[in-house]
Symmetry: C2
Subunit: 265 residues, 2 copies
């Protein structure tokens, strides 16, 4: 438990299904804890209750904005199965629900079956030739102190104050303190990159997430992961961000999709 992500996703079990935890400000985007961090915290409580080794799938609906500080988690076990178990997790602060998640858990190491990949990992320069997006950059959020993020310069026009046509970001990511990635980390990583639409909009502003789902496919190898986040359709300000996460071996370890919203000016 020497790593910050583990410390800041620790929950204290009060009774069957009831946990308390502390949302740490270290994972903020502006005044609000990162959505992926809140999803990971919810998953951790679910894994404890389900007694399952791996996060398989998680969906979070963001009911209301959280703030750093004490939080309560209520885990309802929906199913204990051979191939997977499921739970619903409610994350509340001050008696008001902020995030509701559904979680499937199981043993990813025990899966056997067809492998078929029509696409490989995204092509991008090595980390040392990518753009270091750090909190030193004006307006970069606090959460970026906890990770090392290197953006493919070809997708980072917005970070140079320019405006690109694409709504795609590619980058390398790992924890700043060397913690290896696992399923919980992937649920967080899926929400770390800046919004894909920044590059097109040419402005960086708050784009709240309505829903975020992460499919964990495989336990990641230690080291960097490589991410590709793509938006194909913005409909009246609502858009998807489709994420792929690949590990250092070049294996797909997770897919993610979120629905986010560009708020009116």
């Amino acid at each position: 438990m020497s790593h910050r992500f583990d410390h800041d996703t620790t929950t204290r079990r009060l009774s069957d299904g009831e946990h308390e935890a502390e949302l740490a400000a270290a994972w903020n985007i502006g005044p609000v804890p990162n959505g992926g961090y809140q999803a990971a915290l919810s998953c951790r409580a679910a894994l404890v209750e389900l007694g399952a080794p791996d996060l398989v799938n998680v969906t979070s609906y963001f009911v209301g904005a959280s703030a750093p500080g004490p939080t309560r988690l209520r885990v309802e076990v929906l199913k204990r199965g051979r191939s997977n178990s499921m739970a619903s997790v409610s994350l509340a602060q001050g008696g008001r629900e902020r995030v509701r998640s559904l979680v499937a858990a199981g043993d990813l190491g025990a899966l056997t079956g067809l492998e078929l990949h029509h696409e490989g990992p995204p092509e991008m320069p090595a980390p040392e030739r990518c753009l270091h997006l750090s909190p030193a950059v004006t307006s970069a959020p606090e959460v970026l102190r906890q990770v090392e993020l290197r953006l493919d310069p070809a997708t980072a026009a917005f970070a140079r104050g320019e405006r690109g046509a694409a709504t795609e970001l590619r980058g390398w990511l790992r924890f700043a303190d060397g913690r290896p990635a696992d399923g919980l980390a992937l649920a967080f990583f899926a929400d770390v990159l800046p919004p894909t639409v920044f590059n097109h909009l040419g402005v960086m502003r708050w784009v709240p997430t309505l829903e975020l789902t992460t499919q964990v496919r495989r336990r990641p190898a230690p080291g960097w992961v490589r991410l590709r986040m793509v938006t194909r359709h913005v409909s009246a300000g609502h858009f998807e961000e489709d994420g792929e996460i690949w590990d250092e071996r070049g294996e797909l370890v997770a897919l993610s999709r979120q629905r986010a919203m560009i708020l009116g000016e």
Copy 2:
């Protein structure tokens, strides 16, 4: 209420949040009601409780197999908001939960904001030059009597007993009885096409869905919708199906993604 889909998604409100309904066998795949149909039924109960006109986003986790017959739905309101409202819906039979859904609802007609589409609707032959996949075809499921489905022959090698490399299906879809599509219909349509992996596997067998999410983007125009379902990654038998649904005007009306599993032989 002269259309079958409306009749078969009708719920009777017993008290605050408590509904009863009947899962009709007409929407079966083999012995099991179609997952999208169960999602649509759950959404309808949520819309009643939330008093919202449009389904915006729905995620269903399939906890256990349902069967045609009586079912109880319990709707928990999570949020009543200006831009959207949210609910959790539990669908149970015989006291056991079968499907748990999270639903966001609101007024899609009131949305204004950026429109940006990097891809248009899929190219495919007109419906009359596509393959009519009907229950007359051996092993085609019962649910296909309720819709007209026309598959692009280029993606339907499996229906000719052949084996294709692609894991993509394209097709036209509408209700057989002329019911126009709406958000609830799209939550169902997202799960109607045969699994994308049939084409590659060369066999048609049961591929259970773990989770299904549909993002409704716009109210569809009357008439055919056009669907494209794509699988890029099968990991130890687990795969995503990414769906796009376009209306007759050529506008994107929904995105969907499910996680399904090819079970061992």
